[in-house]
């Protein structure tokens, strides 16, 4: 028994390290384990590439009006047709990806970061600070995301920067609440007490010792936020409270002319609608897959 034991130990100790796997093999394995997540990631990557190289992949200026080509249906020259001012719908959708990603990432990053700091701080300090802070968060979270964004934009006015701010405001409490729940567990781990005993400052403990340990839920949250931010931006623009003409933006493309011409020129509404759906779908799939990978409970159950 003992020999066997020793032998097993010996085998384990001298076992060959895991073979190096090339990236395409890893990718294939990941695709096999998380096919939906990879599909989502591909959509996101495609969108990022489109936004980055918009100038190279579009045949026309997205804001230039062209009298002669008003409401042209999809054909060889205009693959998604043109809108009522003769602008190429495909070019506007590609450039619209820039607007969507800029608003999406900026809102999610800033909103998420503020939520992270506030959530961890709330958990770390606890007591009266946590109590008051969480009640304030409750007030903010009582309003649905779009309603809160509408309220903010009504106060600040329209425009890309204000839309980003309007989306950040409702994101912060949502992120802070999720991060706080994870941070509460971290706070009870002895190394936090050890850090305090070493005389580290609050900021150092929060930023260097607690925040990195809540990254898994934070990243999942931020990924989901990007999709939500894109949808919220599109909603605000559709309502005329977001990005303004002539900036190419998907929600804006659905508004006004698209409503008016939805029947006689459906391409004006269909393609921006598809772009919004696909982008949000992509980010949500990617976020779900990320959660499956990063959440240890879900990982062990697989």
């Amino acid at each position: 028994m003992a020999t066997v034991s020793q032998g097993s130990l010996a085998v384990a100790m001298f076992e060959e390290p895991a073979a190096f796997k090339p990236w395409h093999v890893k990718l294939r394995e990941t695709a096999r384990k998380q096919p939906i997540g990879v599909a989502g990631a591909l959509i996101v990557i495609l969108m990022i590439l489109m936004a980055a190289f918009a100038g190279f992949v579009t045949p026309y200026d997205p804001v230039a009006n062209s009298y002669e080509y008003m409401l042209v249906p999809p054909d060889g020259n205009f693959i998604f047709g043109t809108d009522m001012l003769g602008r190429d719908v495909y070019s506007r959708i590609v450039y619209g990806a820039r607007t969507a990603l800029f608003v999406g990432f900026a809102s999610a990053a800033v909103g998420g970061f503020l939520g992270l700091i506030l959530g961890v701080s709330s958990a770390y300090f606890g007591g009266l600070f946590d109590l008051i802070f969480q009640r304030v968060m409750d007030v903010f979270m009582a309003f649905p995301l779009v309603i809160m964004a509408l309220a903010v934009v009504s106060i600040l006015g329209t425009g890309t920067e204000n839309v980003i701010l309007a989306i950040i405001v409702p994101f912060v409490p949502r992120c802070a609440r999720v991060v706080r729940s994870s941070a509460l567990q971290i706070r009870e781990i002895p190394y936090i007490d050890a850090a305090k005993a070493c005389g580290f400052g609050h900021a150092r403990i929060i930023l260097r010792h607690m925040a990195p340990n809540v990254m898994a839920p934070f990243l999942i949250m931020v990924t989901a936020f990007v999709g939500q931010a894109i949808l919220t931006e599109a909603s605000l623009s559709y309502l005329g409270l977001g990005v303004q003409e002539p900036t190419p933006a998907w929600g804006l493309m659905l508004q006004g002319g698209a409503e008016e011409f939805a029947e006689s020129a459906p391409w004006v509404a269909v393609f921006p609608g598809l772009a919004i759906t696909l982008a949000v779908f992509g980010f949500n799939l990617f976020g779900d897959a990320l959660r499956d990978v990063l959440d240890p409970r879900l990982r062990s159950s697989q």
């Binding site: 804001v63 001012l85 329209t158």
Partner: protein, 558 residues
Amino acid sequence: MSAMKTSFTRLALAAGLGAAVAAGGVVAASAEEPKMGGVLRIVVGSKIPSYDGHRESTFGMIHPIRPFYSLLIRINPENPQSTTDFICDLCEGDIPAPTNEGKTYTFKIRQGVKFHDGTPLTAHDIVATYNKIVFPPEGVLSSRVSFFAAIEKVSAPDDFTVQFDLKHASPGFIPLIATPFNFVYAKKDLEREDGMSWHQKNINGTGAFTFVEHQPGAFVKGKRYEGYHHEGKPYLDGYVAISAPKMSVRLQAIRGGRADIEFRAFPPKSRDDLVKALGDGITVQESAWNCTFGYAANQNRPLFQDKRVRQALTLGLDRWGASKYLSKIAIVKTVGGLAFPSDPVATDEETLKTYYGYWPDVEKSRAKARELLKAAGAEGASFKIWNRAVDQPYKVVGTWMLDQWRQIGLNVEQEVLPSGPWYAGLRDPNGFDVAIAPSCQSVVNPIVDAGAWLSQDRAKNNRGYYTDRQLDEWYDAMNRESDPAKQKEIYRKFEKRVLHDEAHFGQILWWHKINPHRSFVKGWKIAPSHYLNQSLDQVWLDLPDEERKQRTMDELGG
């Protein structure tokens, strides 16, 4: 193919029918016997800021509220296309001719008229009303006060006579009195403690309908006033004005049978969609529209104090191209100067083509614009257009303007706001850079309407915030001039200075009014303004008896 042919045939037939209605009102329907009863369902594309006609300037108030009120005189509802056919409403007999060398107008007031609360109407009510409009107390907003500058005094020699004394003879006086915003209020209401603001939230008129209910943001309801002073009218039991700010909602409401008519206008594409979908069920009325679509550069901004920059802005716009193409998607059409294009005082096309921004060669025009911008040191200048969140024609034409100005190297953005903040910004001398400044008048009266381009201390709606005493002088001169030829001559100088020499205002296109409505709506004739002919007392529904009764039951409960 045959289906396509059929729909084109129906489209052509309906368009032809509409043209016939607009052209002469000679459709057989006008000879039909009106049917009593039923409720008219109207969709209105804007909200009601207040009920006070003297204060407001929007169709959002006129369409739902005008039927509760009467005017002293009004345009002839049977001949609304005429710019000179006025008839008495609360006065009686013919429209009076002036006496005292054109300086006195005396109206005999109809007897037996009662306000909806039972108060008898007398000349003193008319006097109190016009005193509020023409001589508003400090702090009381009377939106068209500058137009009435010629009036010296309004008085009542007896209970049923009203006399207007003018400072000088004014050929534009009668059209002014027919302005549909001049609701006649009861003197006793105006003499309340809050009398000057009471009508903002309360209604008491002598119109064809009495107020039933207003659910803000939803609808206004009115029912027939049995004591209405025009015998036998109104024909309807009532009406409901449904608030629907989105154009697509209004369109679908008419298409789906939830509404019968919209009195402002639909764009050409919507007209075609309705005709295609409903065929004979839709009648289209079209008319030139007494609304200009233009812009004003705020001269409180240093950039626009240089007239070369203002001239460059107007040169940068391809009006003739816009007329051809934008008219397919928006409710704008006619290239024109300051005066309503079909009015005798309007500038002919050849003269117009000599003004900046009206040159037929757009490339030459843009080259000149770039040259002027360079000379003014304003190449690549940046500014924002202050636009209104109304699709037609504001946002469509605003977006077109951005593209036009981009082509002369300007860096332009737009800020689109709901009506309230947009108006508030317009009234703020420092609230904007360049504002979309529509000038929508009711009765066609270009000589008086030119008051919109007077110096800022005289014209409350001067959105350029400039002072130009030469314009003030010419305006006064043409309003006192009784010889039409001389008047036109002064008007020409006035217009050239506004549009070309000083480029205080950028006129773009005149609007084009298209009203497709359910064919069973009879008795309403399109006017050259969406403010006019909205008393609804002549409107009736050519529906079966049961259907009219059912509508009354549904909307008014019996």
